[in-house]
Structures are given as C-alpha cells and as structure tokens.
C-alpha cells in the first residue's frame, strides 16, 4: 500500500528512503515528509544542467542527500543549455552543479551517426564539443563543486565493440582533458553506473524518443547516490583518517592468544588472504593520502613487532600516523587521535570487528563513521569497497593529483585546437544562420507542434492547432513567422515561431516561442529587425509584447525588459510591454546571419 502524503513520521520516512525496494510513489511522499519535519544539520543547493529531461533525478538526489543528513534544494536547468543554466544557478546561489551531457544528442541520433561520419566531421564535432565544455567548465569555476557525468551510450554496443564505442571513448577523453583543468570538477563514470543498473533496466526508450527522458528511475537512483558520494554528501563531510582495530580487522585471530605465528595473514590461505587483501587496500588508501591510525586494545610493542617482522604483513608500523594501542576505552582513544591530528571527529572512519566497540563509538561520538568487520571474512571485501568509496569517491588522492597534472599538460598542448575566448567567439565559430519565413503554409504543421511542445521559452504559451496557424497565415491582420536555424554542423529545422497581430497601428507579439534545443545562442535576439521593419511597413507605430507567466516559462520573464520595451503593467492576461517603433533599436547579433525566405 502506498501511504497518503503527509502521514509519514520522520523515522518512517527515513525507513522508506533507506528501503531499496521502496516504490516511487512512496519515495515521493517520504522525501517531502522528511524534508518537512526532520531537523537536518546541513543544507545545500544543487543545480542540474542536463542534455536530457531528468526531472525525476531531483527525487533521488534529495533521497540520498537526506540519508546523509543533508536538506537538498534542487534546481533543474533548461534542456541542454549549460551556459544559460550556470548564469541562472549562480544568481540563485547554487553550491553544487551537476552537468549531464548526452552523447546521443550531440547531433540527432549521434550514436548511430558516429558510425558513418567522416573523420573530418568527427574531428570538427569533437573540437566544437571541447570548446563548448571548456567554456561551460570555465563559467562553472565559481561553484563549490561540479559533478560532470561523462558521455555514455543508450543503445547497446556489439560484442567486441563498434565504431561508436571508439568515438565515445575519444569524446570522453577529450571531456576528461577539459575537466582536468578545473579543480572543482569531479567526473562520474556513467557507463559504470549503467553497468551497475544493467543496460536493459537503465533506460526507457518510450520516454527518450517522445520527450528525451531516457533514464529509468533505477538509473537515476544510482546517479543520485553517486552524486552524493562524489560531492562528499554536498560538502557536509570530508573523511581524512581511517582508524583501524587490529585483531580480526588487520589480521585473523587474536595476537595476545594466537601469538605472532598463529595470526592469519597469509596471502595463500583462507581466511588469511582476506586480511592480506584488506591490508593491501588500506596501504593503497594511505598511498593516496588517507591518514592511517590504529586504535586497538593490545600490547603496543607486540603490535609494532608483528607489523614490522611478520613476513606477510603488508602494512608496516611506519604507514601508521597515530597509534592508540593500549587498554583504554576506544571512545577516548578516538578523541585523542582527532586531537593529535587536529581534525574533526567527523573526519574519522573507524573499523572494528567488535559489535560492542562499534556501538559504543556510534552512541557516544555519532560524528564518527563506523564500519563493523563482518564475522564472515568473505563479506569483509564489500565493506572495504564502501570504505574506499568514502575516501576516494570525491577524489583528492595523490594519484589523482598526478593524473590531474597529466591531463593539464595534455589539455595545454591541445589548447590551440579549440580555444574560444568568449561565448561570442564560440557562437561565431558555429556559423549560425537563421532563415525567417512569413506565412509559409508548408510549415503550419511544424509551427503548431512547436506551439504545443514549447514551455520554457514561450512568452504567452498559446497553443495552436495546424488549422489555427493556417487561419492566422491567411488573415491579413496577422503574420506568422517561422525561424529555421542552422549551424555549420547542419540544419536544426524550424525551431522558433513569432505571431504578430496588427490592430490600429499597434503590432502585438501574440506569440513568441523557441525550441529549447536552440536556446543560449541569441536566436531569439536575431529576429527583431525583421519584425520591426515589417511592422513599420504595415503602418504600425507601436510594438507591443505580452508575457504570460506559467510554471515553466520563468526564464522568459524579463525578455521584453532586456529587449528594451517599457513595462505597462499587468493587463489581466499578463505583463504588457511596448515601445515606439521609431525609437526601437533591435539587438545586435553579429554572430548570426539572418536570411529571408
């Protein structure tokens, strides 16, 4: 049964959030209930800018944030408009930015096209992608954290890989190189996330083809969890030290009873091989910058001797920065370790095989993250995987630093390939063409469709049938303009519509809408010379615009203000603007070539 909204207690709600089998409907309710009633120590604001519709991601981002005690506000961006989103997110005070570009829409059905494109075309597309994302990441350098999802496939590859795989790898390397120049960027391996979910369960092609919403709830759930991990729960935690018990944590058995000869740590026998592997993982973490500490009820000299003289020990006493090996209680020892290192208790991760010790730490210093070693050694490795996630998911290790250096050098070498100094330089490189047609009956169906589908950049959100459009085209008092946009990669088709109605020397913009695919390129600025000239030629003296707010079109709210029209107040149907046509100066868009059909 799905509970009615508002009936979950915080504890019940948290239980639903933690339940991997929780239904979507119950999750939606539980997230809102916990947010409404829980006392949460930390708040963050995340902005999501994606090349696909990922609205449901908001639910899963909030789910996993709440599980880390973080109240998350999620702002969704527009479709494939990272630069515009970043400007809006910055103004809205977003801390953490999630960028999720989509490979398949780099060009329509790019996964299929990549298999047939000539190398020169691919290289041009790669350079454009690089230049665009360099601009985006540069614009995003002010955010505390940026989580960049890499490119991935939606369609399955063929066994052994196909050309699309090769192109995908190449584009991901290019993206990684661009990302390496920015310290606040973490990349998420989308192909690994898809593999975790399973490709058949990761996508919903119905919603992809209909509304470019390819991801299944299962995939968005894992993505939400990974974003929380990659951002260290939105910056709410930062683990620095791994504090390890010794007996049955670093080796099998009890040193005081089994003595040095009896502890199990051989790489060639079970369960010694589990502990040997565990030690190897811990030392690897140490090499990547994690501070290793010991906290064990043991004889300090015996432990040091064992670590340094036992032939199978991977971890040496010199790998350990602080040792609290004594018979005092562990809670006090953990406080001492934090004090010695001068780090917060919330920076400690504690690993112990004793349920008693784990519980004592959990209850007395809840800031410390606690892992209990499972009694079945074989299960230990999955616990270690979680510990590694905690330290490494958000990066920052030495290896990462090296890699970052490498990438930086490579990125610098490639600087000349695709360097745009400004957004306008980038736009100029696109060779944008806007072809404006007037009352073209051949475009009526497409114009109607656009009016039905466009929500974000739609000033009045009037929906027209094809017959409505045909009527407006034949009406001498109205003109229907269609905008066809093309760039050097090819045509994007009819992507903008303007309907102008003339009445007693007043030209009113009855409708103005753009497909979200072409936003952020100034297309909506490029048409005003044409509109104004036509209106003057028809004997009009006043240009009037109307903005009717809807839940979706907030981004267009100040469009007429920016265009230089004067607000005349709310006329019931929306905010009315006008300007004398004689005084109206259309915005300049030198990067767009405007043609007339």
């Amino acid at each position: 049964m799905t509970p009615a909204p508002g009936v979950n207690s915080v504890a019940d709600g948290m239980g639903i959030l933690a339940d991997p089998a929780a239904s979507l409907a119950s999750l939606m309710g539980a997230v809102e209930d916990v947010e409404a009633h829980a006392v949460l120590p930390f708040a963050a604001h995340v902005g999501v800018s994606a090349g696909a519709s990922v609205d449901l991601l908001s639910l899963f981002l909030r789910r996993h944030a709440l599980q880390s005690g973080v109240r998350l506000r999620v702002t969704m961006g527009n479709f494939d408009d990272p630069l515009g989103d970043i400007a809006r997110f910055t103004e809205a005070g977003v801390d953490v930015l999630v960028l999720a570009p989509l490979f398949d829409t780099l060009e329509p059905a790019f996964e299929a096209r990549a298999g047939m494109m000539a190398e020169a075309d691919l290289a041009a597309r790669e350079a454009e992608m690089r230049g665009r994302w360099r601009l985006v990441l540069n614009a995003a350098s002010g955010f505390r954290q940026v989580v960049l999802c890499d490119f991935h496939r939606i369609t399955a590859s063929v066994p052994g890989g196909d050309r699309t795989d090769v192109v995908l790898d190449r584009f991901n390397q290019a993206l990684a190189q661009e990302a390496a120049a920015f310290a606040n960027v973490r990349r998420l391996d989308m192909s690994a996330i898809i593999a975790e979910v399973g490709r058949p369960s990761a996508f919903d092609l119905r919603f992809y083809l209909r509304s470019t919403a390819p991801y299944s709830p299962a995939l968005l759930n894992v993505l939400g969890r990974q974003v929380a991990a990659a951002s260290r729960a939105y910056g709410s935690r930062f683990h620095k030290a791994l504090v390890l018990d010794c007996d049955n944590t670093l080796w099998g058995g009890i040193l005081g009873e089994d003595l040095a000869e009896g502890v199990r740590i051989s790489p060639f026998d079970y369960p010694g091989n589990v502990f040997w592997r565990a030690q190897t993982e811990f030392v690897a973490l140490q090499r990547q910058g994690v501070l290793l500490c010991l906290c064990s009820k043991n004889d300090a000299d015996a432990v040091d001797a064992l670590l340094d003289t036992h032939p199978d020990m991977v971890l040496k006493s010199s790998d350990v920065i602080v040792k609290q090996v004594n018979w005092d209680d562990k809670v006090g020892n953990l406080r001492l370790i934090a004090h010695t290192l001068n780090i917060g208790l919330d920076s400690l991760v504690f690993v112990d095989d004793s349920a008693f010790e784990c519980e004592a730490v959990r209850s007395q210093i809840p800031e410390v993250t606690v892992f209990q070693v499972p009694s079945n050694p074989a299960e230990y490795l999955s616990v270690i995987a979680k510990i590694k996630d905690l330290f490494l998911a958000a990066g920052g290790g030495n290896d990462d630093v090296d890699k970052t250096q490498q990438y930086r050098q490579r990125a610098a070498a490639l600087e000349s390939v695709a360097a745009f100094g400004s957004h306008e330089d980038y736009l100029i490189s696109l060779d944008l063409t806007v072809t404006i047609s007037r009352d073209d009956p051949g475009r009526a169906a497409r114009i109607s469709q656009l009016s039905q589908k466009s929500n974000q950049f739609n000033l009045t959100t009037l929906r027209y049938t094809p017959e409505d459009i045909a009527r407006l085209m034949n009406d001498p008092a109205t003109t229907v303009y269609a905008l066809d946009v093309a760039d050097r990669f090819g045509p994007a088709g009819t992507t903008g519509v303007v309907v102008v109605r003339r009445d007693a020397q007043v030209a009113t913009i009855e409708s103005l809408l753009m497909s979200c695919r072409v936003l952020g390129r100034g297309i909506e600025q490029s048409l005003w010379a044409t509109i104004a000239e036509d209106a003057l030629a028809e004997g009009c003296v006043l240009l009037r615009g109307v903005y009717r707010p809807t839940p979706k079109n907030g981004q267009a709210a100040d469009f007429y203000d920016r265009l230089g029209l004067t607000p005349r107040g709310d006329a019931g149907s929306g905010q009315v603007y006008d300007t004398a046509l004689a005084a109206f100066i259309p915005p300049s868009t030198p990067w767009i070539k405007v043609l007339h059909d």
Binding site: T2, S23, D55, R210, S211, P217, N455, K552
Partner: protein, 78 residues
C-alpha cells in the same frame, strides 16, 4: 479489477494532493499539479505499483482518473 485505493494513493502521492481529492472526476483539468512532468512520474509510479507496462500510445493520453482506471483494468485483466 484494480485496487482503487492503491490507485488513489499513488496519484495522491505523486500529484501531492490529499487522497480525498482524487475521485472519478479527477483529471489534468481539475488538478493544477498534474502537469506534464508529474504525468511522467505518475506513469512510472503506476507501472511500478501495478506491475504493468503502459504502452507508449496510451501513456501520454491517460489524462484522467477514469482513463487510468480503464487502461489499468485492461492491462491487469487475466
């Protein structure tokens, strides 16, 4: 026949309205919160709750309680 209380529960949870507001007359016209985004969430939640796969051609058109009930009953009929 489907469990209508379960249907109302899912719709209430997804559309964020009290279950008492979900009745035979509920539709995209009567519930302002039933927008295209929530509609997609609703379809996903219904598929999960009732263990069905709603065909693409139906998914976009299920704009009322009555239509949803009709299609779910068809899909769950033995």
């Amino acid at each position: 026949m489907i469990d209508e209380d379960a249907l109302k529960g899912v719709m209430a949870a997804v559309l964020r309205v009290p279950a008492t507001e979900i009745g035979p007359e509920a539709s995209t016209d009567t519930l302002p919160s039933w927008d295209s985004l929530r509609h997609m969430n609703l379809i996903l939640a219904l598929e999960q709750e009732f263990g069905v796969s709603i065909p693409d051609e139906d998914a976009a058109n299920l704009s009322s309680y009555a239509l949803i009930k009709l299609v779910l009953n068809e899909l769950t009929a033995d």
